[in-house]
Structures are given as C-alpha cells and as structure tokens.
C-alpha cells in the first residue's frame, strides 16, 4: 500500500490568470488546501494571530456538483477578503460529499504588517473547474480571474 496522499495545492499557469490544483486523500481534506490555494493567488496573505478579534464563519450548501460547491465556498471567502480583509482560519469540514459542503471556521483580520497582497482576484471562475477522483484520492482544479 502506498503512502497516504497528503493535502496539498499548487498554482499553475493560465494565459492571463492563475490556476490552482489541489490534491488530498478524501473530499473533505481537499477543502483546507483549496482555501490556502485561493489565498496564495492573492499574494502573501497572513491573518492576525489570536487574540485578534475573529468572526464565526459557516458555509452550508447543497447541489449536484462538488466542484461547484467548492467554488461557491471559495467565492464566499473571496467576498470576505475583498470587502473586509478577512481570512478563514481554523477550518472544520463537517461534510463534503457529492451533494453537500458544510464548513465552519473563524474569519480573522488580515495582518497588514506580515501580508503582501499582490493581485486583485475578480472571481473564482467555472473555467476548468473540476473535482475528480485520482489514484490515492481526489484532485480539484479551479482558475481565478485576475
């Protein structure tokens, strides 16, 4: 039996924009690296450490396409970042199945001293959007519009 697939993300090129490829052993384990990948497209993003004030975050959506559910979560987080400079931490995935994604966490303010936002991301697009089984786990891809 091979080593368990560790959750990870990598950025990949797309002509004018940036893509994120995420791998993990299970669907729920895809979520934290997908969130980290989204923040990586924005630049060097560091939240303020506790005891900085934080808001509770909860996302719970149903649908028939896990890729779209994941995209909707990321779009929600992009909105929080874009409007209030909040970064999701302490991510807990209650369920990520083919039909439901339930995530909770804490939204912490961006640490302006430690962070270096480099790009304005307009959106998490539907382009090349996918969640699919691969050997040893799952792979998700998404592309952000810059």
């Amino acid at each position: 039996m091979g080593a368990r697939m560790e959750p990870a993300y990598e950025l990949f090129d797309h002509t004018a924009d940036l893509g994120v490829r995420v791998t993990a052993a299970t669907l729920p384990e895809l979520v934290p690296p997908a969130v980290a990948g989204l923040y990586a497209t924005l630049g060097h993003i560091v939240p303020q450490p506790a005891p900085a004030p934080a808001d509770d975050f909860a996302f719970d959506a149903t649908g028939d396409d896990p890729a779209v559910l994941l995209r909707d979560l990321l779009a929600e987080l992009l909105h929080h970042f874009d409007t209030r400079r909040r970064v999701l931490m302490d991510i807990a995935v209650g369920e990520f199945s083919g039909v439901r994604l339930a995530v909770t966490g804490r939204l912490r303010p961006l640490d302006p001293e430690q962070s270096a936002p480099a790009r304005e991301v307009k959106a998490v697009t539907y382009h090349a959007l996918a969640v699919r089984p691969v050997a040893g786990g799952y792979e998700a891809t998404f592309i952000v519009d810059i």
Binding site: H14, T15, A16, H79, H127
Partner: protein, 486 residues
C-alpha cells in the same frame, strides 16, 4: 471539458478565417476570425477558436460568431469575441459574453502640452498621478458614495458624477452612450455588489489596468487625427479600468442565478460557462439591468479618474486644466452587451451585441456619434503594453456591415503571469522601461513584472490586421512616457 478535434480554419482572404458550422453539432452560424498569418499562428495555440465555435451555438445568434485578432482563451467566450443575438428570435444574453469586469474600457485625454513640456517633469508628474489616483490591491477611492448616492450613480453613470463636479459636461458627448445606459436597473444590483464597490469608484485597480502619459509619436491619418484633436508630439493620457469589485460581483451573482436557466428554457450549451437567458425573459432582463448599472459605474469610475488627472496636471503645471487643454477625446467600453439596431438580411433588427474584449467601432455618419466625429467616424482606442505603443483607430463601414460595428481592444497576452514573473527574475523591469524612456510606478513589484512588455503581443500587429481587414483604419500611434499601475 472533453478534448475536441482541431478547429478547422478555412482561409477566406488575408485577414479572415472561417470555422464552418459543420465543425460542431449545435453551431447555428459559422465562426469568423479576423487575423493575419502571423497572428493566426498564435491564436491556434490555445482554445480560443473552439470557444468561437461554442458561442456559435447560442440561441438567436445572428450572422457569425466573431473574433478579433487579439483573441485569446477566456471564460465561455474568448477574449476578443463578438456575438449578436436577436431577442425576437429567442436570442439570449450571456454574462460570459461580457466578462467579470463589466465595461472595462479605455479613455483618451488630449492636452496642449508637448513632449518638450513633459519630458523634464515626467517623474514629478507620474509621482503626483500615483499619489492622487488610487491604484493597487484593495485601494479605496478618495471619493466615497453612500448607499443612496451609489444607486443614483448606477442609474446616471458619468452624467451623475459630472453633475456632482467630477468633470466637464463636454466629456459626456465624447463618451460611448454618453456614459450612461438608460436600461440600467440599480435595484437589480445586489447588496454584496454594492458593498464590494462602495469605495472603489475613482480607483484604477490592478492587473492590466493602467494610467499612461503618452506622446503622439506617429500620425497615419492626418484628417482623422485632426478631427480627434491629435497631432505629432502632443501629450495624451490614457486610462484603462472598469467597474471594479461592483462589476465583478454583478457577474458572479448572474452566473450563479442563471445556472439552471438554460435547462429551464431548453437551451443546450456546449460549455456551462455560456450560461444565458433569453433577453426577453425575466432572468435576462435582470442581468441586463444589473449589468448596465455596473457599466454606468465603470463610466463614472473613469470619469472621476479623469477629474483627478486634470487636478494633477493643473497642480504640476500651475495652470488650470482648461488652459492645458485636457479635453476628453473619447471613452469606449470593451466588455459590454448592448441593444443596438442593425440592418440584417434587408431588415432593421434590434440585436443584443456582446463585446467581450472588443471595442465598438462605428463609421462616419453613424447617428450615435457626437456631431464633431460624425464626418470621420468613431475613435477606436486600442491600448498596448507599457513599453511599446497604443493605437487610435477610426471605425470603417466594413465594421458595421460585418462585425456589428466592432473591432479589436488591445494587444492580448502571450505569456502567463507566472511565466512573466519567472522571466523577470534577475532583471529590473522598472530600469528596462526607463531605458526605453518610460517612467513607471506600481504598488507592487509583481505589477510591473507580470505586465512587462514581453508578456503581450505587439499591439501594432493587431492594429495592422484590423486595418488590413478594413474594420478600422489607423489614425495615430501613441508611445508611453509615464505609467502608473496597481
């Protein structure tokens, strides 16, 4: 997305390539790409031609699915795509045919200053512009609008902000649609979109958006240039920006709202990014109203930056902007869908014209042009990269006949952002630009690295292709002297 067979491109002439509708089941019309031999080789490297074919499947599409020489792979529609649909024949409107940055566009301001006036003070001028016009990630504007005023701005566009003191009334006549689409429905713009754009009106943003101080380096068509108030050696300012976070969110909302709509109306699509709704449906009208409100926001955005630019010039040169001759030449949208009337197959039809990375290019005599440009045609503003040049073209009758009065919009990227950053390692793009005579300021180093000149096609090749195709003709080439970016 399944792997498709190569898209057949049949040469029609030196600058026209046809994708026959037999290529793909569901294509209602042929695809038509405008490019010369040099550009078509690049175009074939990505999936843009397949996207041209996909767009040809949209219900109600008229004549052709069109693509300009600067096309590249986009979301659903390629960037550089044009499609007109007939609402009376089930024609649809698609947010993918507009893009996230609704009414991203360009405006050109001329001055009475010459290169000799500017050259000794270019750093001072660029620094002052950089300090005054908000640029970069997360930068809010100097001008704040409360929720109620923001809704008025969404309804009134440039007209609203000019009435509030941000610009001159003459600016409105030389802005496409007068800077205001009257089908805008601010009530269809979500609270989220309002929140995202609340402090962003009058800000440049980041990415490929810029403000450039330029010199008119070459005049190709002296009569048209004179009509636009342009002459060799003259200083101009070009502003490229759009509807900022508000527009992005309007598109995001629409793509979500319209997800199940094609199925509801029995519309089969080859790509889910082409989600759409019949123009006459409630869903279509909601998107049209919100999108046009976002378009008005974009015009107001560029109008406020014009006001700030005039203030900077007045401060640096210690003369009023009026005395410096800072008149707006024109403002064009290049990401938009509008209802426009054309004669097709011998009858007048009001069509929903999507231009995604394409510029309106009306010829002489068109009634929508301001009186002063009616004898020559509409200025078509085509920005290039920050090291080489940008072009002013003028619309030709062929554009009206073939492309629903549309033309190219820019250079088009040839290098990904990561590749551009890799290519910039060990170099200083800032110094390289200085060596070319361009003083650049950016909030982040990555801004210059990602947007370096080598990352783009040479816009002169694109301008040459539309000139040879007869869609527009070349008027003047502008060279950057100073640039601010996010």
């Amino acid at each position: 997305m399944s792997q498709k067979r190569p898209v057949p491109l049949e040469r029609l002439d030196a600058c026209r390539w046809r994708i026959p509708k037999s290529y793909q089941p569901g294509m209602r019309v042929d695809g038509l790409i405008y490019a010369d031999d040099t550009l078509i080789a690049d175009i074939q490297k990505d999936q843009a031609p397949a996207q041209v074919a996909n767009v040809a499947c949209l219900p109600g599409i008229v004549k052709h699915s069109l693509a300009m020489p600067d096309i590249h792979w986009g979301y659903g529609f390629c960037i550089g795509g044009v499609a007109a649909t007939d609402p009376e024949e089930g024609g649809v409107i698609s947010p993918g045919g507009v893009g996230y940055d609704i009414n991203c566009g360009v405006r050109l301001i001329r001055t009475d200053l010459t290169r000799a006036d500017i050259q000794p003070r270019i750093r001072e001028l660029v620094d002052a512009l950089f300090d005054t016009v908000p640029t970069g990630v997360g930068r809010g504007g100097q001008v704040k609008f409360g929720r109620a005023d923001l809704r008025k701005l969404l309804a009134g566009g440039s007209r609203y902000v000019v009435n509030e003191g941000f610009g001159w009334h003459e600016d409105l006549a030389v802005t496409e649609a007068g800077g205001c689409l009257d089908r805008a429905r601010p009530e269809y713009v979500s609270d989220r979109a309002l929140e995202r754009g609340a402090d962003q009106c009058g800000t440049l943003g980041s990415g490929n958006h810029f403000l450039e101080v330029q010199v008119v380096e070459e005049v190709v068509d002296p009569a048209a240039a004179a009509a636009f108030g342009l002459a060799e050696g003259q200083i101009t300012v070009m502003i490229h920006s759009g509807s900022r976070g508000l527009g992005y969110q309007v598109c995001e909302d629409a793509l979500k709202d319209l997800r199940d709509v094609p199925k509801r109306y029995g519309i089969a699509l080859p790509d889910r990014q082409l989600v759409c709704a019949p123009v006459h449906s409630n869903e279509g009208q909601r998107y049209l109203g919100a999108m046009q409100a976002a378009a008005n926001f974009a015009w107001a955005n560029r109008q406020i930056m014009t006001h700030l630019t005039r203030q900077v010039f007045a401060r640096v040169f210690e003369r009023p902007a009026e005395a410096l001759g800072l008149h707006l030449v024109y403002d064009v949208a290049h990401n938009i869908a509008k209802l426009e009337t054309y004669e097709v197959d011998g009858r007048r039809r009001t069509l929903c014209v999507h231009r995604k990375g394409a510029t309106r290019a009306f010829p002489a005599g068109h009634p929508e042009l301001p009186e002063r440009y009616r004898p020559v045609g509409q200025p078509v503003l085509v920005p290039g990269d920050m090291g080489r040049s940008s072009w002013v073209l003028v619309g030709n009758p062929a554009a009206l006949d073939e492309t629903f009065g549309s033309c190219c919009h820019g250079a088009g990227r040839v290098m990904s952002r990561s590749a551009a950053i890799r290519a910039a390692r060990g170099r200083s793009i800032h110094k390289e630009l200085l060596a070319r005579g361009v003083f650049a300021r950016a909030r982040e180093r990555t801004g210059l690295d990602e947007e370096q000149p080598d990352a783009y096609k040479d816009v002169s090749l694109v301008a040459e292709a539309v000139h040879r195709a007869g869609l527009s003709r070349k008027v003047a080439r502008l060279r950057p002297l100073g640039v601010i970016k996010g």
